[in-house]
Symmetry: C2
Subunit: 146 residues, 2 copies
C-alpha cells in the first residue's frame, strides 16, 4: 500500500483538528478560571507581539496564518481591551505598527505558564521522540498546503 493512503475512517479527525481543538478549549477554560479576559485567538496575536512588537498587521497575518480581515478585528478587540495600540508607520502611511501596552506586557508570564501547563497535560505520557515526529509531520502538512 502506498504511503499516502488513509483509511477513510481516519480522515476525519485530521481534517477537523480534534486534538488542537481540545487543547484550545482547555486553554481557554484555564484562562477563564484564572480570570483572564482574553480569547485564545487574541492570545495567539499577543504571543507573536511578545516575541517582538511594532509589527504590521500584515506581518501578524503571516505569523498567525490568518487573513487580513481577521487580524483587523482581532486588533480592534485587543485595542478595546487596552492591550495593544495601533501606531501609523512614519515611513509608509499604509501601515499600522502594533505595540503592546503595559497591561499586555504583564500578561505574558502568567499566560505562557498556563499554556505550558496545558500542553504538558495534553502530552503527558507521550515520549519526547514521538512528539518530535508528530511535530515534523504537521510541519510537512503545513508546508505542502500553505
Amino acid at each position: 500500500m502506498s504511503n499516502n493512503h488513509f483509511k477513510k475512517g481516519e480522515l476525519y479527525s485530521f481534517i477537523t483538528g480534534k486534538a488542537s481543538t481540545a487543547i484550545a478549549r482547555r486553554l481557554q477554560k484555564r484562562f477563564n478560571t484564572a480570570g483572564l479576559n482574553i480569547t485564545i485567538e487574541q492570545w495567539s496575536v499577543l504571543y507573536h507581539l511578545w516575541k517582538e512588537d511594532g509589527r504590521s498587521q500584515q506581518q501578524l497575518c503571516n505569523a498567525t496564518f490568518r487573513d487580513k480581515p481577521s487580524i483587523t478585528r482581532l486588533v480592534d478587540n485587543l485595542e478595546k481591551l487596552n492591550l495593544v495600540k495601533r501606531v501609523p508607520s512614519e515611513n509608509d502611511r499604509r501601515i499600522n505598527l502594533i505595540y503592546l501596552t503595559k497591561q499586555a506586557q504583564k500578561l505574558e508570564e502568567e499566560t505562557m505558564q498556563i499554556a505550558d501547563e496545558t500542553l504538558n497535560e495534553a502530552l503527558k505520557t507521550v515520549p519526547a521522540d514521538r512528539i518530535e515526529i508528530c511535530k515534523e509531520v504537521l510541519q510537512i502538512v503545513y508546508d505542502n498546503l500553505k
Copy 2:
C-alpha cells in the same frame, strides 16, 4: 529534560492547529472549485451520517466533538440545503433523528474522493509509519483532554 517540555516557540502551532486549518482550507477550496455548495463543517456532519443516518443531534454532538447549539445550527443549514431532514423520534419525543436526503446521498462519493485527494496531497512525502505515530500522538492528546 522531561518528556513534556516544549520549547515555547513550538507551543503555538500545536494550539492553533495550523496543519488542520491548512487542510480544511484546501478542502473547502476544492469543494468550491467543484461547485459543491457546502462548508467543511457541514460536510463533517454528513460524513458521520453517511456511516449511519437516523442519528440524534446529541449523537452528532459526540461524533463531531461539537456542542448542542453548534449542531442545531449546522442541521438548520443542512435542512435549508435539502441535505438532511429532522424526524421526531417515536419513542422519545425530545429527540430528533437526522436522515439524509437523496441529494446528500449523491454527494458522498465525490466529496470523499476530494477529501482523500486532499489528504494525500497534504501527506505526500510523509512515510506511512510517521503518519501512524502522528495520529497516535494526536489521539493521546485528545484522550488526555476530552
